[in-house]
Subunit: 240 residues, 2 copies
DNA sequence: TCATGAAGGCTGCCATAGCAGATGGCACAT
DNA sequence: ATGTGCCATCTGCTATGGCAGCCTTCATGA
C-alpha cells in the first residue's frame, strides 16, 4: 500500500491550486488516478473503500467519492455490494480514449476560436515561444510542459466546465503515452511545434472549423506516433 | 420543494434498470438532473445538501454524491464552504454542449463502426424500421423514442464507459431541445430518418470515417433545426 | 463422496453527528 | 451616519457506526 504514499504527480497544471486547501476527496482522486496511470495499481487490482481509507489515513467517505469519479472516468468499475476493481485498459482501450480525446480537443479548439480573449491568445503565444526555445535547446521535458500548458489554456478559454473536466481526465489517462510520443524521434518535436503554431493561427483568425480540424489532426497524429493508433495514410475511402 | 417529488422522467433508456434496485444517490442524481433540465430548478437556485436531503426523505450523503456528479456535468457549481447553485446555461451554453455532443457522438459512431456485432446492427435496423413506421404514422413521440434508442444502441456498442456516461449526461441536457427539433417542421421527421439510415449504412459497411462524419453532421443539423446553432450554409472558408 | 446450508467475514451503501470555514446581522464605538 | 468586531447560523466536508447483500468456508447430512 506504499503506492499511495508516492510524492510527485506529473500534471503541473493542476498543481497551481494549493495542495493543502484541496479537499481530501480531491486529493484522494488525483492520487489514485496517478497510481493507476503509472501502473502502481495494475488493472484487476481490488480496491476496498475501508482498507484504502486506512492506508491513506483518512475516512472512507472521501475515498468513496474519489472512486466514484474514477468510475465516471472509466478507470475503475464497481459491482454493487461486490467490490471495486481497476478497469482493464489494453491498447484498444487506450486507442478509444485517444480518439475520444481527439474529438473533444477539436471541439475545445473550435469554441476557443470563438471566445478566446486577447490575454489568452497572448499566453498561448508565450507558450508557443517557450516550446520553440525548448525544442531548440533539445529539452523534451520542457517541451512537454509547455505542450500541456498550451492545451490547458485552450481548454480554459472555452469556459465550459464539462469540457475542462473531461479533458483533464482524458489527458491524465494517456499522459505517459504522450511524453513517449514526444521522445520517439528527433523530428517529432519540431513537427508538434509547427502544428501548435498552425492551431494558434486558426485561433487568432477566429476560424472555428480550421482550428477544430487542425487540433483534431494534431492529436490523432500524436496518437499514431505514440503507437496507439495505426498509421492511416489514406483517409479518403467512402461508403456509397 | 415539491419539484423533487415529480414522478415521470423522459429518458426511457435508463428506465431499463429497475427503479427499486438503484442506489439512492443514483436516484437523487436523475431526479435533480431532470428537475434542472425541465426548469423546475431554474439557474441561480441555491441547493443545500441538508434541506434537499430532508425534502427527499434521505440522508445528506447520497445527495452530496448526486451534486458532485451534477457538478461534473456542469449543471451546478459549488463554492467550497459557500454553497451549491444551479449553473447558468443560456443559449450559448446550450450551443456549447450541443457541439461537444456532436463531437462525442461522432467518436461513438466511429468506434461502433469498428466493433458493433451483428446483434447490435440488427437491433439498430429494428429501431430504424420502428422510426420509419412512426414517421409514416405521424407520431413524433414514437419517432423520438426510437431515436433515443438508436443513439443509445450505438453508444453501448462502443463498450466505452466514459463515452456512455458522458453522452448520457449530454443527451439529458438538451433532451427538450431535441424533441422540439423533431416537431419543428413536417419535413424534419423524414430527414432525420434518412440521416439515421445513412449512419446505419456506414456502420454496416464498417466505415468509421463516414460513420463519424454522418453522425456529426446529423447532430449538428438537428441542433440548427432546434435553433441552438446558427445555420451555416457555407462551411468551406479556411485560414491561409 | 458429494450435496447442502448456516455462519462468519467480506463488500458497498447509507444515516448520524460533529467539524471548520463563510456569511449576515447586530451591538458598539467613532 | 459610518466603520468595526463579535456571534449566531448557515454552508460543505469529514469521521464514525451500522445496515443489507454477496461470497467463502466448513460442518452436517445423505
Amino acid at each position: 500500500m506504499a503506492a499511495f504514499m508516492s510524492a510527485a504527480a506529473p500534471y503541473p497544471v493542476e498543481r497551481l491550486a494549493e495542495e493543502d486547501t484541496l479537499s481530501l476527496a480531491e486529493r484522494a482522486y488525483r492520487r489514485l488516478r496517478d497510481s493507476i496511470v503509472q501502473g502502481a495499481l495494475p488493472p484487476g487490482s481490488r480496491i476496498s473503500e475501508r482498507s484504502l481509507a486506512a492506508a491513506l489515513g483518512i475516512s472512507a467517505q472521501p475515498v468513496r467519492e474519489a472512486l466514484r469519479r474514477l468510475e465516471q472516468d472509466g478507470m475503475v468499475v464497481t459491482l454493487p455490494r461486490r467490490g471495486t476493481v481497476v478497469a482493464e485498459f489494453g491498447p484498444e482501450r487506450q486507442a478509444e480514449m485517444g480518439r475520444i480525446r481527439a474529438a473533444l480537443e477539436g471541439a475545445a479548439a473550435a469554441l476557443a476560436a470563438e471566445r478566446a480573449d486577447a490575454a489568452t491568445l497572448a499566453a498561448l503565444e508565450a507558450q508557443l515561444q517557450a516550446m520553440q526555445e525548448a525544442t531548440e535547446a533539445g529539452r523534451p521535458d520542457l517541451v512537454s510542459a509547455a505542450n500541456e500548458r498550451f492545451h490547458a489554456l485552450i481548454h480554459g478559454a472555452t469556459g465550459n466546465v464539462f469540457l475542462i473536466r473531461s479533458l483533464a481526465a482524458l489527458r491524465a489517462f494517456d499522459h505517459v503515452g504522450r511524453v513517449r510520443a514526444l521522445n520517439s524521434t528527433p523530428k517529432e518535436l519540431p513537427r508538434a511545434l509547427r502544428e501548435h503554431a498552425g492551431i494558434l493561427a486558426a485561433l487568432q483568425a477566429r476560424d472555428p472549423e480550421t482550428a477544430e480540424a487542425r487540433m483534431r489532426a494534431h492529436v490523432l497524429r500524436s496518437l499514431e506516433v505514440g503507437g496507439l493508433l495505426p498509421h492511416r495514410p489514406d483517409r479518403r475511402r467512402r461508403t456509397p
